[in-house]
């Protein structure tokens, strides 16, 4: 006589199998956004820009509110110290203390490099959630620097996106993007970012050291070092005003 298995065993088995399947690309992207996103952030960072003649370090402090507002003050080197940038929505102003001028950065200037780095002003402006900008598809799995990753292919949903498609490697456990290739509409690889160091800050995994490489330029790229980050910090409203540029 055949003994019949209880129905709950079959249900549990089905659930396990479902869990072993790859999650959807959108779900992974949502987890990435959740990991790094917060209402307010205060960031202290350094950029080490490797030029063909020499390297130089640019130090900055940024105040970020949601996706629309950010304010950055450059602290070093002396020539750049005191330069400030304010982003409000899709507009970017810069203040130069040597000229006492507040200037709107627009047009082709947005594609120029920020402080000679491998990042453009457009990159600097782009901090909307990936979920809002791209449709994601899981391409496969791959280990990167010993960490198991999901490999996602992102395709732009909107027209006003700096990069038409991206290929991203997301840490399966920490939901940190460890590597990213950014492509133009033509399919040409424009930029590559590689995370070299990941750390836990306020219970979230964040990229501490990232190498940005403009693939159209010669050179060793730009290292971005995140020295300090405070999530959900108190930021007074006046910071995100043009008046604060001159203070």
């Amino acid at each position: 006589m055949i003994k019949r298995r209880p129905a709950w065993i079959l249900v549990a088995l089905a659930l396990c199998l479902a869990g072993a399947q790859a999650p959807s690309g959108d779900w992974i992207l949502q987890k990435v956004d959740e990991n790094f996103g917060s209402d307010n952030k205060i960031v202290h960072s350094r950029m080490i820009i490797h030029g063909r003649r020499a390297s130089r370090t640019v130090e900055a402090r940024s105040w970020i509110q949601g996706e629309k507002k950010s304010f950055t003050e450059y602290l070093a080197p002396p020539r750049e110290a005191g330069t400030k940038m304010l982003k409000l929505g899709d507009q970017l102003w810069t203040f130069s203390p040597s000229t006492d001028r507040t200037i709107l950065i627009s047009g082709h200037m947005l594609r120029q490099s920020v402080m000679g780095s491998d990042l453009s002003y457009e990159d600097f402006m782009e901090d909307r959630k990936l979920m809002d900008l791209y449709a994601a598809r899981v391409e496969g799995e791959e280990a990167l620097e010993g960490r198991p990753c999901w490999v996602l292919e992102l395709t732009a949903k909107a027209e006003d996106v700096a990069y038409n498609s991206r290929k991203v490697w997301v840490d399966k456990e920490r939901f940190v993007t460890l590597k990213e290739d950014l492509f133009a509409k033509s399919g040409r690889l424009l930029k590559r970012t590689e995370v070299k160091d990941v750390a836990l800050a306020e219970g979230r995994w964040i990229a501490k050291r990232v190498v940005f490489k403009d693939m159209l330029k010669t050179g060793e790229g730009t290292e971005f070092l995140l020295d300090e980050i405070r999530f959900n910090a108190e930021i007074p409203d006046y910071i995100f005003s043009k008046a604060s540029l001159k203070k």
């Binding site: 330069t83 810069t94 000229t99 001028r101 507040t102 047009g107 490099s113 000679g116 043009k242």
Partner: protein, 424 residues
């Protein structure tokens, strides 16, 4: 004999007027087109040298490879001592340092915020040093439209059309936003001292001229320059000399692997200039050939018609015992006289037309809207000493060829049949 032939020609207008007119028109066109091409070639070389290439140009090797992108991060450093050495080694040349730069020109409103903003290409030259040759090289006094040339630090010249687009007035502040040599953000305020129009589309399209010391400070390029240009003292480009000088300069550094070592290029060796100049030379040669060819055919035809008309006359001359060779020689002699006379008149008319185009010019600015060549919008001829004699080549050659070919018919006449032919 010559006098006899000349009198014959003058008395028989059908033998002189049409051939002389043909030669006059052909020679006039040859002289005029030669001077026109000469003017374009001279203007192209002169404008390119003054605004862009110099007669020789020195850059770092890395800069030279990407020169069209104006990579100031790869500019020459130690420019002061390098220029001093060049002045010692090549005392016959004038040496100047220049920086090309790009960015945005931002015009503030009363509150100091952006009122107008446009992409700009700029040229930094030595405007303020005592005895600097640059104001003369750029002919600033001639191209000034409004205001004056810069007299103190912080003053710039803005293209006249560009200034109107930006609605910027003399004395207004203009902020340059660019990139420093190290790649940082460069922001510098200038005062508009004057507006200029070079009449060279590639220069007038959104250009500013600033003093090199100001731009060095703004772009953090102390003792650096993108380019050092060398000019022959008389400002006449001599290609073999320039090429030889560049080859010698570069051979001295052949073993140096430094990508920032200086490299010298002659004008004709830069960015397709050699090909362009060769093309202009070839075109000018082709024009001469075409004129000689066409005129020879026309004059050959005229000679044939003359021979037919003079069929009886030649027959009588042969019957009277004149040799065929003598008749052939007199026909050629007559043609050379017609050629010489037509050439003299044609050269005079061609030179007069060339002088007119040299002085007044022809504005072709509407055709140069997107031109990247350093050629003037006003097309001018240039009367060269050679153009006084160049008309003699087609003038004499064509009449000679025409008479020589058509005159061969004389040798086909048979003395035995002359009586029948002449119906005597």
């Amino acid at each position: 004999m010559i006098r006899f032939l000349f009198k014959g020609l003058m008395r028989d207008r059908s033998r002189s007027l049409f051939p002389v007119l043909t030669v006059v028109i052909g020679v006039m066109l040859t002289v005029f087109v030669t001077n026109w091409i000469n003017g374009f070639e001279f203007d192209f070389i002169d404008s390119s040298a003054r605004f862009n290439t110099g007669h020789v140009r020195i850059m770092s090797r890395a800069y030279a490879r990407e020169a069209d992108q104006v990579p100031n991060d790869l500019a020459l450093v130690g420019v002061g001592s390098l220029t001093d050495r060049l002045r010692e080694q090549y005392p016959g040349l004038i040496w100047v340092s220049r920086i090309r730069f790009g960015g945005l020109l931002d015009i503030p409103d009363a509150a100091g915020e952006t009122r107008e903003q446009e992409p700009v290409t700029g040229l930094a030259v030595d405007l303020l040093s005592t005895g600097s040759p640059e104001p003369g090289i750029f002919k600033l006094d001639e191209v000034l439209v409004r205001g004056r040339t810069p007299r103190r630090a912080g003053e710039i010249l803005v293209g006249e059309d560009f200034s109107r687009r930006l609605n910027v007035q003399l004395g207004d502040t203009a902020t340059l936003i660019g990139v420093t040599m190290a790649g940082g953000l460069a922001v510098a305020n200038f005062t508009v001292a004057g507006t200029i129009r070079f009449g060279v589309e590639a220069m007038d399209r959104g250009a500013i001229i600033a003093d090199i010391a100001d731009i060095r400070a703004a772009l953090d390029m102390e003792d650096a320059a993108g380019e050092i240009l060398g000019f022959f003292g008389d400002f006449i480009y001599r290609d073999p000399q320039a090429r030889e000088m560049a080859a010698r300069f570069n051979s001295r550094r052949a073993g140096d692997a430094d990508e920032f070592a200086p490299v010298m290029e002659a004008l004709a060796g830069q960015a397709g200039m050699g090909d362009l100049l060769a093309m202009v030379g070839m075109f000018s040669g082709m024009v001469l050939m075409v004129f000689i060819g066409i005129m020879s055919i026309v004059l050959w035809n005229a000679g044939l018609m003359g021979s037919l008309r003079r069929y009886g006359e030649i027959g009588v001359r042969l019957a009277m015992g004149e040799t065929k060779s003598h008749i052939y020689a007199t026909l050629i002699g007559e043609s050379l006289m017609i050629g010489a006379l037509g050439t003299l008149i044609g050269t005079a008319v061609g030179l007069a037309a060339s002088y007119y185009l040299q002085v007044h010019g022809l504005n072709i600015g509407f055709m140069m809207k997107n031109a990247s060549l350093y050629a003037s919008n006003v097309l001018r001829a240039k009367v060269s000493p050679a153009s006084f004699g160049i008309g003699f080549i087609p003038g004499l050659a064509a009449t000679f060829l025409g008479a020589a070919i058509s005159g061969l018919g004389i040798y086909r006449r048979q003395t035995a049949r002359l009586m029948k032919e002449l119906e005597i």
